[in-house]
Amino acid sequence: MPAEQSAPVADEPPQRPRKGRRAWDEAPRWQIYLPLGIYLVFTLVPFYWILLFALRPTGSTSLVPWPMTFEHFDKVWNDRSFGTYFENSVYVGLATLFMTTLVALAGGYALARFDFRIKRAFMLALLCSQFVPGALLLVPLFQIFAELQMINSLGSVIIAETVFQLPLSMILISGFIRNVPYTLEEAAWVDGCNRFTGFRVVVLPLLRPGLIAVGSFAFVHSWNHFLFALMFLSNQEKQTIPVGLNSLMSADSVDLGALAAGGIVAAVPVVIVFAFIQKWLITGFSAGAVKG
């Protein structure tokens, strides 16, 4: 939101040829490109490295992936059952996305638009839950899911991922809803909408960027997260991508080509999601979270 507002405004008053630079946002070019270039190398070399290992034949030490081979991908996808893992991860990711968004939307609306008795306590609980480490709760969570007969079912991972995504998602979404003027909703009621249709017709469309940011966040997190799947899913058929990747790493003789190919399979969906949302991410954060 403030991104557009802050940009234009005052016509530049014709100043004398200035001695210093003008504002902070007009540093000399080299002060931008040099550090950025160095940082870019640090960022991209690891990505290049994994691509290199995935595409060059085993045993090659060439620094360019030529001649190119897809044997590693073939091996990982078929022999190491990354195809199955991929499917499971997509399933977990999408289910977490929908559950998190839906539940957080309902809760976020309540937090943004109502005063109710336990609101302050609830907000505090949301915040405190940020300090509960998922890894430290593995044993009791395992027991709960065993009790519910959900060990070895993707449902256990979906629930666990959703629960740990919820607090932050809800705080973000309630921030977005607060940014939608309440009078818009009231106007809809005057026009004969009830609370639900008013919300659906007036508020929901305005929330779209925020919801996309929150949903992608949930997807990326559950796609990447490793511990719950490792602990709750002992059946290989049910495993997700990060677990498969870990098993490639802890094998006695690490097959570097397979590891690299598996890594790329793991990265592709999140990179696509990321490319798609990164514009909204920054505005989303500034609207929802940092404001506090």
Partner: protein, 312 residues
């Protein structure tokens, strides 16, 4: 910030309502799904961890199971040097990681906040490791640090270092090696948070400062930094807790080794419960870690003044 606050300050929702049938119960109905999920899968497990911390509980040694009183805690503080080692390493890990991430993240955010050719592509590229998981980060850096075909080999080709060294299995290099791997992914996240806040600094302030003859360093110190203060406090503390809790990266990158050199407290707890099956003791360790984190969270609440005034 100022603009955002102005937008948020709307008249309080009026008490009279049209449309909805049961307005009094509606907010409770709306938070019920989230509340129940969190009660069942966060609150209850936390309580059961407290319960088990007072028990001897090890499925492989059932004859010892039963009420333990504070035995587990006494053992942690008096007979378990590994606890102290892992705690010290956790502290070192968090301080170094968060400190460096803040430094580089701030610098990166300031750079990509400027207008330059190719900015959005540049942003997308430097931010991209954020999306990469701990496990994938480990996989990538395992490839880079590999003793046979990793970066050391090519460095050795250029006459730097020796052939066949692996930075991950040497106690003197494993810490910096792990730190760099985690920075690769952590800095972009920090930079995104700070950049989000940077965008709301009013340009007028800089122009006014310019007229008054303030140089860029002074503009940074007196305008940018104070403006970012809240965001920095917030993200630093969140990040610290997150770095403390996260086990994905170290678990897969070093497995806590070599020789326990990179075992954080949560990693030690995971090993104690999952590998050694000593649930009672692991629960006591968890409780101690939880108290430490609770302390952190109270500091966090203080500093960020969350929920104090402002929000209706």
């Amino acid at each position: 910030m100022a603009q955002a606050a102005a937008v948020a300050k709307q008249p309080a929702p009026p008490r009279r309502r049209r449309g909805s049938a049961t307005p009094r119960r509606l907010p409770y109905l709306l938070i019920a799904p989230a509340g129940l999920l969190m009660l069942g899968f966060i609150a209850y497990p936390v309580l059961s961890v407290f319960y088990y911390s007072l028990q001897h509980y090890n499925p492989t040694k059932p004859w010892r199971n039963g009420y333990a009183g504070f035995d587990n805690f006494t053992r942690i503080f008096t007979e378990d040097p590994q606890f102290w080692d892992t705690l010290v390493f956790s502290a070192k890990w968090v301080v170094v990681e968060v400190g460096l991430q803040l430094l580089f993240g701030l610098a990166l955010a300031l750079i990509v906040n400027q207008t330059f050719v190719g900015r959005s592509l540049g942003r997308a590229m430097v931010f991209s490791p954020w999306a990469v998981s701990g496990v994938l980060t480990s996989a990538i850096w395992v490839l880079l640090y590999n003793s046979q075909t990793g970066i050391t080999r090519y460095l050795a080709d250029m006459g730097i270092g020796e052939y066949g060294t692996s930075w991950l299995s040497d106690t003197s290099t494993v810490f910096p090696a792990a730190v760099v791997a985690d920075l690769w992914r952590g800095v972009p996240f920090f930079a995104i948070l700070i950049l989000a806040d940077l965008q709301s600094v009013s340009k007028d302030l800089y122009e006014a400062a310019e007229v008054d003859g303030a140089g860029r360093l002074r503009q940074f110190l007196h305008i940018t930094l104070p403006h970012l203060k809240d965001a920095i406090i917030l993200s630093t503390l969140l990040r610290a807790v997150w770095e403390f809790n996260n086990v994905d990266l170290l678990y897969t990158l070093t497995g806590g080794g070599p020789a326990g050199e990179t075992t954080t407290l949560p990693l030690y707890i995971a090993n104690t419960s999952v590998d050694a099956h000593n649930f009672g003791y692991a629960s006591a360790l968890t409780t101690v870690a939880f108290v430490i984190l609770l302390f952190c969270s109270m500091v966090y609440l203080r500093l960020s003044k969350f929920g104090v005034g402002g929000d209706k």
